[in-house]
């Protein structure tokens, strides 16, 4: 028999039911010692559920779960952690007002009643140097970048001596390219030490780079496990969505030669934005590339009137406008879709309809009385147009998948008839299928005469969508590229300029 690598974790025929839903249907998963195993699937495919069973969050499931060769049934996160499974969640679970050291050792400050920060700091310093993270143990977590905070969280996970399996749930979602690169190096080092890593990501390019094997899930079912070195991205995508995606050839979306300028921004300044000027032409998709924290979102918030600008002028259709509140921006036809749709874009506890018609109530009411009939018909129209998967208009938005939530946000703006739409990270945390639909939707908007700004940290997305690319770094615009000359390397070079 060929010497197989030792399986450290094995799950067989896992079934999990939620009220009225079969969340996992005979799922299998094996993890070998010292491998990086990617877990992919569209949102709602069951990755999170599987991970939650792995880590003891869900305790009621059917099926067999072997860890280090023993049959186990974890009764809680703590049990799983003691056995050697640590998880770093997509949303960071850290205390912002505590120091790095306090965060790492939270819950394990000391064996007695009193604890000394000095000892904690020493222990943390050792761990941090082992991991080669450039932070001080005494630094407050809120002062760290997302990337550094993530590293600290991984360091925390690894500070449990028993840890044999590390689960990273979309660790790169909020990271810039260089931070991701850093993370991969750390993952590589851990693998060499014999740690097994489960890596959940929507970015297939990363998976091809870093993972050994990849397991694909779809609709709660196990589809296949492939060796990464033997397969292509297209194969994985096909397995994930069960159909083929036709890549459109790269082309300008038909901006006319002398299209008028719809938006001009000159010398915009604030604490995080340093003298930014640019123009947006009619019918154009203007990409904003740059690392996370380079000031792209801040520029848009200034234009949209959410933050106060120190100086600078905004011209809409050639006329100088004062924008002091989002209400003014909307009046001049500018809409903004935030990168954090749960915080800034949606009312999660309210229905699909309430969310879509929110900005349009004045349009859909008479003498302050809302016309339910009009609201309903507009909502139905948008659900159909955007192919939002929802039971009906009363469905609470919280229960929709990320992609469908994003469509609800888009629907909200379509109903408003904006001329200029600013998409901030339109596909963050969204699965491949829905991503394609959103791209198609953006192209369609352009054909209808809208002008669009897209902010994205995903370079393939920028290159694929934009007609022209502005690159930002540290609050400044460091370059402007026409799509005919833009490629990922060029953008990256500009984005990392000081």
């Amino acid at each position: 028999m060929e010497q197989k690598k030792k399986n450290i974790l094995e799950m067989r025929d896992i079934n999990k039911y939620f009220v009225g839903a079969h969340a996992l249907d005979n799922c299998c998963f094996t993890l070998q010692k010292g491998e990086i195993h990617a877990l992919v699937g569209e949102n709602g495919a069951g990755k999170s559920t599987l991970v939650k069973i792995m880590t003891g969050v869900y305790t009621d499931y059917d099926g067999e779960y072997l860890f280090c060769g023993n049959k186990v049934h974890f009764q809680g996160i703590k049990e799983a952690q003691q056995a050697g499974i640590s998880v770093v969640h997509q949303e960071l679970n850290m205390m912002n007002d505590l120091t790095v050291a306090q965060n790492i050792f939270i819950g394990r400050e000391s064996k007695g009643f009193f604890c000394s920060d000095k000892k904690l700091n020493e222990k943390a310093q050792k761990l941090i140097s082992d991991f080669d993270i450039k932070v001080k143990p005494t630094e407050l977590l809120k002062n760290l970048s997302v990337g550094k905070a993530q590293m600290v969280e991984i360091a925390r996970a690894m500070s449990f001596e028993s840890t044999k399996v590390l689960i990273l749930d979309e660790p790169t979602a909020a990271l810039s390219e260089s931070e991701s690169h850093d993370l991969f190096e750390k993952m590589e080092n851990l693998r060499k030490k014999g740690i097994s890593i489960v890596f959940i990501s929507h970015r297939l390019g990363e998976i091809m780079k870093i993972a050994d094997r990849v397991t694909v899930m779809r609709d709660g079912a196990y589809i296949d496990t492939l060796k990464v070195c033997e397969c292509k991205i297209e194969e994985i995508i096909c397995l994930m969505i069960g159909r083929e995606i036709i890549e459109e050839p790269k082309q300008r979306s038909g901006v006319k030669e002398n299209a008028p300028t719809v938006l001009e921004v000159t010398n915009l300044k604030s604490s995080k934005v340093k003298d930014v000027s640019f123009i947006l032409n009619k019918g154009e998709i203007l990409g904003f590339a740059g690392l996370v924290g380079s000031g792209r979102t801040e520029v848009m918030r200034l234009i949209y009137g959410v933050d106060k600008k120190e100086s600078g002028e905004i011209f809409v259709n050639g006329v100088k406008r004062q924008i002091n509140h989002s209400k003014d921006a909307i009046k001049y036809g500018i809409g903004y879709l935030s990168e954090d749709r749960k915080r800034f874009g949606l009312m999660l506890g309210l229905s699909v309809m309430d969310n879509i018609v929110l900005p349009s109530y004045t349009k859909l009411s008479k003498f302050g009385f809302v016309s339910k009939k009009k609201c309903l018909s507009e909502t139905y129209r948008l659900i159909k147009q955007l192919k939002i998967k929802t039971f009906d208009t009363n469905q609470i938005v919280k229960k929709l998948s990320g992609g469908n939530q994003q469509k609800v946000v888009i629907g909200k703006w379509l109903l408003q008839d904006m001329d200029i739409l600013i998409f901030d990270e339109p596909t963050r945390g969204i699965d491949v299928g829905a991503r394609e639909e959103i791209y198609i939707m953006i192209k369609k908007l352009i054909n209808q005469g809208n002008s669009i700004i897209v902010i994205s940290s995903d370079l393939t997305e920028i290159v694929r969508l934009s007609d022209r690319v502005m690159v930002m770094s540290e609050g400044k615009i460091t370059g402007e590229l026409d799509i005919s000359e833009a490629n990922q390397e060029k953008i990256m070079t500009l984005a990392t300029q000081g």
Partner: protein, 330 residues
């Protein structure tokens, strides 16, 4: 969405809490019918109604504020304080009773507007702003009354017509008619108007509302003014029901209002709630108050039991929120 789905969603929302409120009401009523003295009489029924008027109006106002994600700790003292000033206007300044009642409304509206400005314009947390106004209204209105108890005209006197009009007409409880009328008006505002939709939206996610081009702060001010209006109505009916208004009282009454909202399924985290639930909560409280009296227990037991009921209701709210969260993770 099929029927099962719909029922499911209903039960996960405030529906379950409403159902429990109805059950609680029935069980309490049956309990007191067995164990209370003279509970199953017309007189007792009417006194249950009587004690529900001012709590009812306060609770309607509180429902708006709580759904918008706020809280009002001043409604009890604003109600009593405004009634006190109305009494001063009638007794001391010698104004006609109708005008004095107008002054009750005006005073409550002004306090409502101040609450609104403190929360909406200055940006204080509602808890602190309204706690401040609780003390201010309690003290200031007593100062105006020179700490004298104010008495409203009795039923049989010349100016007693207002009592017949708003409170009781030859034994018929007029108050319930006004409560129903203003319940309907409030329901229409909350469910059919832009103000109502914004109230839910702001309570659900204010940042998102703000980014949608809606000046949420201005709408919040309006919500507190609506609340002030209902505090004023509560003040009028309070004056009609109890006639003598003592300075430095009224604090604590707002807790009944907040309790009624929560019992009826309005979430303290905002964005969720209904007026029908609130009215159920109001009757749970007034049945409890009246029933305990009929059992001959001292008044202090009311406070203990209502405290228990509030904690249970908030507990249900917390559990419900947790369930919603867990469901969304799948």
């Amino acid at each position: 969405m099929n029927k099962g789905e719909r029922v499911n969603q209903f039960m996960k929302g405030e529906g379950l809490q409403k159902l429990i409120a109805v059950l609680a009401l029935i069980i309490l009523y049956m309990f007191f019918s067995f164990f209370g003295k003279y509970f199953l009489t017309v007189d007792t029924f009417i006194s249950i109604l009587d004690s529900s008027y001012y709590i009812g109006f306060l609770s309607i106002g509180a429902t708006f504020v709580i759904i918008a994600g706020g809280i009002d700790l001043s409604s009890g003292t604003v109600m009593v304080g405004s009634a006190l000033i109305g009494g001063v206007a009638y007794n001391v300044w010698g104004l006609p009773i109708a005008l004095s009642l107008g002054i009750v409304m005006l005073s409550a509206l002004i306090f409502g507007a101040i609450n609104g400005l403190l929360v909406g314009k200055i940006g204080l947390p509602p808890f602190i702003a309204t706690l401040g106004i609780q003390f201010i209204s309690l003290g200031y209105c007593s100062v105006i009354a020179k700490v004298q108890t104010q008495t409203y005209p009795s039923l049989i006197s010349k100016d007693g017509w207002f009592k017949q009009f708003v409170y009781k007409n030859e034994g018929f409880p007029m108050g319930i008619i006004w409560l129903i009328l203003f319940f309907i008006i409030a329901w229409v505002i909350l469910n059919k108007t832009v103000l109502g939709r914004y109230t839910y939206a702001i309570g659900s996610n204010e940042e998102a509302v703000e980014l949608t081009g809606i000046k949420s702060n201005n709408w919040k001010i309006l919500v507190y003014i609506v609340n002030g209006f209902f505090c004023g109505l509560a003040g009028i009916i309070y004056a009609a029901t109890y006639s003598t208004i003592t300075p430095q009282t009224g604090n604590g009454q707002e807790m009944y209002a907040i309790a009624a909202c929560v019992i009826g399924g309005t979430s303290l985290s905002g964005g969720i709630g209904s007026l029908s639930g609130t009215i159920l909560g109001v009757f749970v409280i007034s049945v409890l108050k009246t029933g305990l009296l009929s059992m001959g227990l001292p008044v202090q037991w009311q406070q203990v039991l209502i405290g228990v009921v509030v904690i249970l209701a908030v507990l249900m709210d917390v559990i419900r929120m947790k369930n919603l969260k867990r469901f969304s993770l799948t």
